[in-house]
Point group: C2
Chain length 353, copies 2
């Protein structure tokens, strides 16, 4: 299957908003979630934008999401807060957490806000980037919503991809934004490959027999591989303790597979750290140094087989520029699912907008 045309971020956002509202989400919340999901698509996070809408709607229909949540600070000190997401859509919880961290960091210089009773919130970079507008650095870690990774040397899938994103502002260059899973491939990429009927390269997954697994339709028969072997496992574990256990959120055996179970409260954990650059020194001076680092990396001679050195977030930035001009391409298999969604929720199809 192939592309089914390009759509603007506004078209995608309005489609998501209407679908969520039709499923019962209050209008303001639906618009906020839709805007963030469309932003994920603009940024090239194809596995975390409108692609997720059918799954989110299924959770709402199954009663697995609280549509009238009381998202609130449960515990706090000047440099931290623990937020209870009251089982709201993760985008709402993590926006609240990011705003809280930014507000606190204005006074304390650094603030760490964790959440429990949250849900899947889309790509990690969405939240790590929120402090940038306030001349702050953002750091975000999440517990993945399904365990696809065993501990190193083990067979039982007790860990998720537990991603980290770090966003650092530049002056004249694009901001530097890392967004990575602790596994070689994020599970969203496996899901996307499965939907498109594509094979995976060796190294993404391993079967329980220890052999490479390349058919995404058989993903249930194997597990993801961590980066750097034991090191990626170590990162996934520590991020899980920080984003999950510390917040009183699910980790290990308690993680609910949100691709298989649409009813049980996931008690997802995430945290965000905001670092106010002005607390450390001159903001423009810092950004100028970031530009200098970027230029040093870009100026490196390349290895055979490489055209250029890329900075973290550079490909996403290029995609955003292209998609803002030319729209967001949607795969035919995704369009088919979205048309079914439109019909089910009695809203206009994307190609009728």
């Amino acid at each position: 299957m192939s592309d089914a045309g390009n759509y603007t971020a506004a078209q995608i956002s309005e489609f998501i908003r209407d679908a969520l509202a039709s499923a019962g989400m209050p209008a303001g919340d639906a618009a906020k979630v839709a805007g963030l999901m469309a932003d994920a698509d603009l940024n090239g996070s194809d596995g975390h934008g409108i692609f997720r809408l059918p799954g989110y709607l299924k959770r709402i229909e199954s009663g697995g999401l609280n549509l009238t949540p009381d998202i609130r600070i449960e515990r706090e000190r000047p440099g931290m807060a623990l937020v209870n997401g009251d089982n709201a859509q993760g985008h709402l919880v993590m926006s609240y957490c990011a705003e809280t961290a930014i507000e606190k960091a204005k006074t304390t210089g650094v603030a760490w806000v964790g959440a429990h009773h949250s849900n899947h919130a889309g790509p990690a970079n969405l939240y790590a980037k929120m402090p940038l507008a306030h001349d702050m650095i953002g750091l975000y870690v999440a517990i993945g919503n399904a365990n696809h990774l065993p501990p190193w040397g083990g067979l039982e899938m007790l860990l998720s991809t537990n991603p980290i994103a770090i966003a650092v502002p530049a002056l004249d260059r694009p901001d530097v934004v890392l967004d990575m899973a602790t596994t070689v491939a994020a599970y969203g990429k496996v899901k996307t490959a499965a939907q498109r009927g594509e094979q995976m390269p060796e190294g993404w997954m391993m079967g329980r027999d220890g052999n490479p697994l390349t058919d995404p339709a058989k993903a249930d028969e194997g597990f993801l591989l961590p980066i750097g072997g034991a090191k990626g496992y170590g990162l996934a574990l520590m991020f899980g303790l920080l984003a999950g256990t510390l917040n009183g959120a699910a980790f290990g055996k308690d993680v609910v597979d949100f691709n298989a179970d649409f009813e049980t409260t996931t008690n997802t954990g995430q945290f965000i750290v905001a670092v106010d650059i002005a607390a450390f020194g001159d903001v423009d001076g810092f950004k100028r140094q970031v530009d200098r680092v970027v230029d040093q990396m870009k100026g490196s001679p390349t290895l055979p087989g490489f055209d250029e050195v890329l900075l973290p977030g550079e490909q996403s930035h290029k995609k955003r520029v292209d998609r803002e001009a030319n729209g967001i391409p949607l795969h035919a298999s995704l369009m088919k699912a979205l048309n079914a969604t439109a019909d089910e929720f009695n809203i206009a199809r994307l190609d009728q907008r």
Copy 2:
């Protein structure tokens, strides 16, 4: 060459203390640095303990280290501080930073303390573990003191191994302590292999021609490989921006190769974050959950070829228990270097203590 006997941590600590004091370091500082270096050896960080003494002494003799530093807070807010290490030995700077972070976190819940004008401080886990005694989680990131890593796809060595350590306290199980470089192998391991005349496995380093490099004596002709390819590069870069650029410390082309240049001020950057568990909830309840996670991981069936699942820090913990009982084994090549040190600084050799 082989082992040259075992020595107690006290013997090693006193040897280091006497050598540093003989080189001109004030007695109190020499004892503090020596204690931390011996602790690194106890913990199995063989590339970061007494192994480093000859290099440290050479820097002191070359005038590259400030022996009477004024380590001080240069900027601060309730949740952060920027410490000027005044070109002191890194162990002194980072102990000060850890103490500052712990003290601040008692009030703010979370505190982040960065340093510039610091120096090599030994293994990352030393500092990440300091908050544990206060029922806090520790997180430590450092700029490595020599660039051995190009940006992904590049040839110019602009990055170091930039390690991260995260320490989380358990209740009845050993504390969970991750300490990892962003490269497949830390450069200390390359140096240790070179001193011992051993070959390296494929995957640690690559030559400038793109082929594997396995002879540590030729390490200068190639570079380290990052974990997970572009991901490890991304982590090394972001950690560099956070531990270096944000603190006004050296990063990129400004990093001084402390293995080749013993005179120039390194302006090393590091940071530590202390997270007070009590701010998030009940401390014992948290630790009990950590034990539960540990038991889940240990309880996983194993892949063919693996006897058991290990937790981050578990091997170090076993080494510590063994070495506290049986002493720390020193390699004959290291003993030879230490005997030369003893003679040069007119102190008793290790085997005379």
